[in-house]
C-alpha cells in the first residue's frame, strides 16, 4: 500500500524526537545515577 510523503516524514519526526529525547534522558540519568 502506497503511503504519502507526509506520513513518512511524520514517522521520521517521531524517530528523530525519540532519538534526541533518548540521548538527553540517558545523559541526565547517567549523571544522576553515578
Amino acid at each position: 500500500m502506497r503511503s504519502t510523503s507526509g506520513a513518512k516524514l511524520f514517522m521520521w519526526g517521531i524517530h528523530i524526537t525519540a532519538v534526541v529525547a533518548g540521548i538527553y534522558a540517558a545523559v541526565w540519568s547517567f549523571e544522576t545515577l553515578t
Partner: protein, 254 residues
C-alpha cells in the same frame, strides 16, 4: 474495523514505537557512557565480593551496564513489533552498527589518548578498529536502492511478520552483489540463453540467475515472484504487471 478504532490502533503503535526507540537509545547511550566511565579508571574495575579490590568501579556502573543491555534488547523487540505496518523509517538494521560504532569510537578515543600520560594504548586501538569494522560491514547493504527504500522510506504494509519478511527478502534478492565484488557471477549464464540445461548450476551464489536447482522452471518462478513483489509494492500498475507476467510466461514456455 471502523475509522476511529483504526486511528486509535495506529496512534497506539506510534506511541509504542516512540517509547521503545527512546528507551533503546537511552540503553545504548548508558552502555557507551558506562564503558567510558570504566575506561576512565583504567579499563578494568570490580565491586563487591570478599576480595580486596584494587580499582573500585564507578558508582552505579556495575548494575547499569547489564540492565541497559537487556532492557535495550527488549526495547528493540518492542520497536520492531510497533513499527510493523507503519510507513517511514525502519531503523532496526542500524542498531548493530550504532552499538559497535559507538563502542568502537570509545576504544579508539581512549586508545589514542588514554587517561594520564600513558601514550597510545595499542590494545584499545586494535579493539577499536575491530569494533568499527564490525559496525561498518552491515552498512554495505545500503548500497542497494531497495534496501535503502525499505529502511528509510518504506510504505505502509499489512502488519504481518510474513510481509516484513517478504520485504526484507525482496530487498536482499534484488541487490546486485557484484557491486561489492564479493560474489563473482559474471561467468554464470542463463540456461535458456546457453541451451545447456546444466549451465549456471552450482552453489547458492548463482541463484539469482539459475534458481536453486538450476532448472529453467525455478528461474521462471523466481522471476514471477520478483514481479509479484514489485506489483505488491506498487512499482508496477496492474496493466504493466499483467503484460510483464504474460511475457515471462511466454518466454518460460519456450
Amino acid at each position: 474495523m471502523d475509522e476511529g478504532r483504526t486511528a486509535f490502533a495506529v496512534g497506539a503503535k506510534v506511541l509504542m514505537l516512540w517509547v521503545c526507540l527512546a528507551l533503546f537509545v537511552v540503553c545504548l547511550a548508558m552502555v557507551s557512557l558506562s564503558m567510558r566511565a570504566v575506561l576512565d579508571v583504567g579499563g578494568s574495575c570490580a565491586s563487591g565480593g570478599p576480595f580486596e579490590i584494587e580499582t573500585q568501579c564507578p558508582r552505579g556502573v556495575g548494575w547499569i551496564m547489564p540492565v541497559a543491555i537487556w532492557v535495550g534488547l527488549l526495547a528493540l523487540v518492542g520497536y520492531v513489533f510497533a513499527g510493523r505496518g507503519l510507513p517511514g523509517p525502519k531503523l532496526i538494521g542500524l542498531a548493530w552498527p550504532a552499538l559497535f560504532l559507538s563502542l568502537g569510537w570509545n576504544f579508539l578515543d581512549y586508545g589514542f589518548d588514554p587517561p594520564g600520560d600513558q601514550g597510545t594504548s595499542p590494545g584499545l586501538v586494535v579493539c577499536g578498529v575491530l569494533f568499527v569494522v564490525m559496525g561498518v560491514v552491515p552498512l554495505f547493504v545500503l548500497a542497494s536502492p531497495a534496501a535503502r527504500h525499505w529502511m528509510f522510506w518504506s510504505d505502509a504494509t499489512p502488519a504481518t511478520g510474513r510481509q516484513t519478511y517478504r520485504d526484507a527478502r525482496d530487498a536482499a534478492t534484488s541487490f546486485d552483489w557484484r557491486k561489492l565484488g564479493i560474489v563473482d557471477i559474471e561467468g554464470a549464464t542463463r540456461p535458456a540463453d546457453s541451451g545447456d540445461p546444466g549451465a549456471g548450476t552450482g552453489d547458492g551464489s548463482h541463484r539469482s540467475y539459475a534458481g536453486r536447482n538450476g532448472g529453467p522452471s525455478d528461474d521462471l518462478i523466481d522471476r514471477l515472484e520478483r514481479l509479484t513483489a514489485m506489483h505488491r509494492r506498487g512499482d508496477l500498475t496492474a496493466d504493466e504487471f499483467a503484460a510483464a507476467k504474460a511475457q515471462l510466461l511466454k518466454e518460460g514456455g519456450r
